[in-house]
Point group: C3
């Protein structure tokens, strides 16, 4: 069992307050408006999580990157190679390797989430080690085979009010349709992510466009039909419960092209003649266009800029994307977002939630922007920053200037379904601890503190995402 | 009444030390070497602050921006439109709107200052709310009508030793002259801010130059006469007590032009033919020139770079400047200030006080520069950063490298006169708390701590500004 | 005597844990894998530290910069002028000036180190002041004359396991040879620093190349012979115990040139015709080349980018380099290191230890890179950042994402030999305090904490530097 004071500042005054505030939110339902869980898990009532390695290691690039950074080849962790050459397939051996290196996760959020999952979901209190690896493997495998550890059963046990997945604009959303049709009451909703079709330099862009034509029923032959196809897809996502879109780009640059320019670039792209400058300008333009559509159809717009994807090219070529090789970049918002905010930022029909991996922008750019523009909300700490210190710095750097009510609550943003309660619990504890610090310094009173803690746990996310 | 331990760390050892240190400075006079209070308030002995909305809401863009960010139109807050269309004029209704949304200020410095002012200046202990809005309005209105709540009376009650205003280079300073002539003993001094004439792209630059000719008596027809006119104005400001100049620019770039280049650009500007590159180079040149003049006339030079003014263009067009739409930018000092520091930075006759909205420059550039160049002092946390956490980060990031004695104490930098005690009190509490932390960790002893706390409260500001 | 709780957080729970953890590492030997102590001190068994001013003031640009920043001319501190004009030579007067201004070091790491050295090395407990300057001078001078205060004696008393110096690629390492030949058992090893020959714009580059030819025995006439000469020098350094190289550059840019391009640039440089662009490209290329050599010869590669050397040009011209006028720059790693990391970063034979003066890169770029690439380790807080708060921020910003085991322990990086114990003690205290904070919040358990504290004190440095 997790220590009841897990994560709380040791000062007795503050800790007592943190406990009290945390108590009031710890059992609230989980609102998960942004993440990467596979909807397939919930489409099939008989789905399971597979082996302990399937659950804890293979899909979690936070885990594999740390092992890799210490010289453990990804082949030994069972990560499939692009060239099909053999990799470790014995999940027990993979699990042993992970357990023998569990010390690498000391003081990391991955270490905390893993311990939390093992303890709270599976009742395992020992930290993994070379010595107990086999015993833990057996205990986990035995539990994972039981029906009460099926994805749907855990969804309910975790008290998930809503779980948003992230889906390509070209996705047929068959799993979401199956879930709806199944009569199961869990709320799993898609999120519209058009990166693969709006970023001209996305891998496989041309095929994505063809797929877009196919799924939308709109023959995409020029910019105008492209826009119509996107509008069709957005409506379709909405029909399956989507409340939001999501956009990744190297920078948050937004700048409108003339219709003729947009059409020319799109024409060149269709013929394979668009260059890097075209792609950058088109992505910036499409951000404007997506804001315009959000204004009209009410989908909340999420922006996740500043990650250099697949920085480690040799690793990418061997293992494909999402292996821990995405590295953040300096990110500028004040100049880049100006055109978008000047055009749409004063319109209360738009909600634009912005994330960053560049903390230097928190107090300098993002908090002042969120504290001014009605349309802009600041998303929670993202990716590497979703950690005890990362969350603390976020509160410290953002809240005084943006104001709590211009933030968007929490996202778990995870592929690892079983880590969802751990991540929300960490956020709720960190929130309670931060608010307790304000009370202990007499900056807010206890009534205000209670209201703030509930907002952070569920209220802000529900309102920001119109849930 | 504010809690006696307001803002202090809850650790009992540290808190006891903080209390003791704070006690030794809390009643010291207020030294306010930089701010934006209207001198008119003190020129007329019968001046009042008007209604509660006049005092707390209308002039305070920290307050209006937060309400605006949550979708409240500025028209409802009584902010006048540039096109003269009607806005709310019922101050009681404006006040109610503010009170009903007071929760938005939870955990923000505005919230703390407002509570502090209400409590310490007006004896109102309840936080504003929809329920008590009318009662509070009446209580405040009644007090504001009394002579002991006149600006001059409060100036004395606040124990203000000196209050510096900020004034355009072209300002005739009639209110400062009236104050001097009136025999009233409050020390209200002007500060020379030439942005409107040295930044060629300032709105109304041509008219400003004409006004400069008029007030200086120097016919500005070329660069040489422009410089003479500026020297005349500086001397005039000094004659009314000015100790400093103030300079805002998008970047801190400083670079000397040849006299011919300066003259050519100025000539083009007079004919309306200067372009953006001209303006940038001329501003950089004038920063050098202003340092040269400061060396000669002894006026302390303040530099406030890195704010993108009027970022929200539609809002600017509707309501004019200073409505909360100024957003910080990444700011580079090491390369930009090099020419100025190489030319004047070793000269002890110059004092250059630098501010920033980009905290990433604190430990990286500004503290190392301040810890080296005799002329450079680091100003206190500016604007958004003048908050409990902002001040704590400043101490954390700056003091070890710059050294306390290369910093410039505190500026309240406010338009809101009645918030001055609250702001200085917050700084003094934060200072005492920071120094207490050093003592509690045995990094300085108590005698050193006492000296440091007094320096922070008044000593550093008095010396840096030659007061 | 230093307070036993020096530097520890005052919270009783955390402090008790910090004490306990610190106790377990405080007497461990000192591992000093990077620094700037003069090997000559240990080559001559009869060497002394000279006067108190020779020891504490003259060679320590942390000390002289702070005094200079407050208007004290370097001439008064006895710093020799390049033009040979007279400067203060009375060391007692220099000492008095330092003591009279000791308050300037309040709250700075220099102040802490100086107090620590005076107390722990020399038994002097009073803080220096105008009043006790002469008395302290006499007491120190008397001690410094004794054999037990000779460099070799203090080396042993300090329990230094290994001390790495930093040496030009062209250095004959005669002091290192003398130490080896002397039979004295102290381990003093050189570090290969080729900046003077690989940075084409280094002062005296041409003479450095001639010297390189002379010491290597390879006639450097083109790029190929240049590379051979460098390989010869690396082998020579290794033969005298070197385990690492060190590289400074304005940016961490790395980019391979074709052999022809490299040869062309080198050819132009030999003829004095290389320009700034050539120099930048060649430095970036040589970083790649040095990584390639490290892969082959096993020398650990250190990279210290982002310092603008000799920013204060007039001061540099009067007093030469290393007078406190080096100022950090914004530094970008994600794009700049990409070519090097793509080529060599997955190879476990390479260890690349990266440092920064730009803390904004810690959580944004460096921790994600170190948490991914097997070759990359993150060096400890460097230069200005090697301070109580600087170290705390490093732990806070780096460890969650990089993971403890991808960091490289501590470097003292000092020219001031007698400050070495103070610096390592400060690091060990700060480490113990940080780990204690994790335990107090139940994020790691006490066994893990003990292991982490030992790693931070010695284990990580020994492994990263293959000592």
């Amino acid at each position: 069992m997790l220590h009841p004071d897990h994560l709380f500042d040791p000062d007795p005054t503050r800790r007592a307050l943190a406990r009290q505030l945390y108590e009031s939110v710890k059992d609230l339902p989980i609102v998960s408006p942004h993440g990467h869980v596979d909807a397939r898990l919930f489409a099939d009532p008989g789905a399971t999580f597979g082996s302990p390695a399937d659950l804890f290691i293979l899909p979690d690039h936070y885990v594999t990157r740390m092992l890799y950074s210490q010289g453990i080849p990804l082949e030994h962790l069972g990560i499939p190679r692009q060239d099909g050459k053999p990799v470790e397939t014995d999940h027990r051996r993979i699990w042993r390797l992970f357990c023998a290196n569990f010390h690498l996760f000391r003081g990391t959020p991955s270490g905390l989430w893993l311990r939390h999952e093992l303890s709270e979901v599976f009742g395992i209190e020992e930290p993994p080690s070379a010595a107990n690896a086999d015993r833990l493997y057996d205990a986990l495998a035995e539990k994972l085979a039981r029906p009460e550890f099926s994805p749907r059963a855990l969804f309910e046990r975790f008290r998930i009010e809503v779980l948003a997945t992230t889906d390509a604009a070209t996705d047929a959303l068959e799993h979401h349709q199956t879930i709806r049709a199944s009569g199961w009451r869990g709320r799993v909703i898609p999120t519209f992510r058009p990166d693969g079709v709006v970023n001209l330099d996305a891998p496989g862009w041309k095929e994505n466009i063809e797929r877009l034509s196919a799924v939308s029923g709109v023959d995409v032959v020029d910019y105008a039909s492209f826009v119509r196809a996107l509008e069709q897809r957005r409506a379709f996502f909405k029909s399956l419960g989507a409340v939001a879109t999501d956009h990744a780009a190297l920078t948050p640059a937004a700048a409108e092209l003339s219709p003729r320019e947009a059409d020319n670039i799109f024409w060149r792209a269709l013929r394979g003649r668009a260059d890097a400058a075209d792609a950058a300008r088109f992505t910036a333009h499409m951000l404007m266009e997506m804001a315009r559509m959000s204004l009209e159809d009410g989908l909340v717009m999420q922006l996740h800029p500043g990650s250099w994807r697949n920085h480690n090219r040799p690793l990418f070529e061997r293992f494909g994307p999402d292996r821990g090789g995405d590295i953040p970049l300096q990110t500028e918002f004040t100049r880049n977002l100006l055109p978008l905010l000047n055009q749409y930022g004063n319109d209360p029909r738009l909600t634009l939630i912005v994330f960053t991996l560049d903390e230097s922008a928190y107090s300098r750019e993002l908090a002042p922007l969120a504290g001014h523009y009605p349309a802009l909300k600041l998303g929670p700490p993202w990716w590497f920053l979703d950690s005890p210190n990362g969350i603390r710095r976020y509160f410290d750097l953002v809240m005084e200037t943006a104001g709590l009510y211009n933030t968007a609550g929490f996202n778990d943003d995870t592929r690892a379904f079983c880590s969802i309660p751990a991540r929300h619990d960490l956020w709720r504890r960190a929130s309670a601890d931060w608010v307790a610090g304000l009370v202990a310094r007499h900056l807010v009173d206890l009534d205000e503190a209670r209201a703030m803690t509930v907002e952070l746990a569920v209220g802000l996310a529900r309102r920001a995402y119109k849930l």
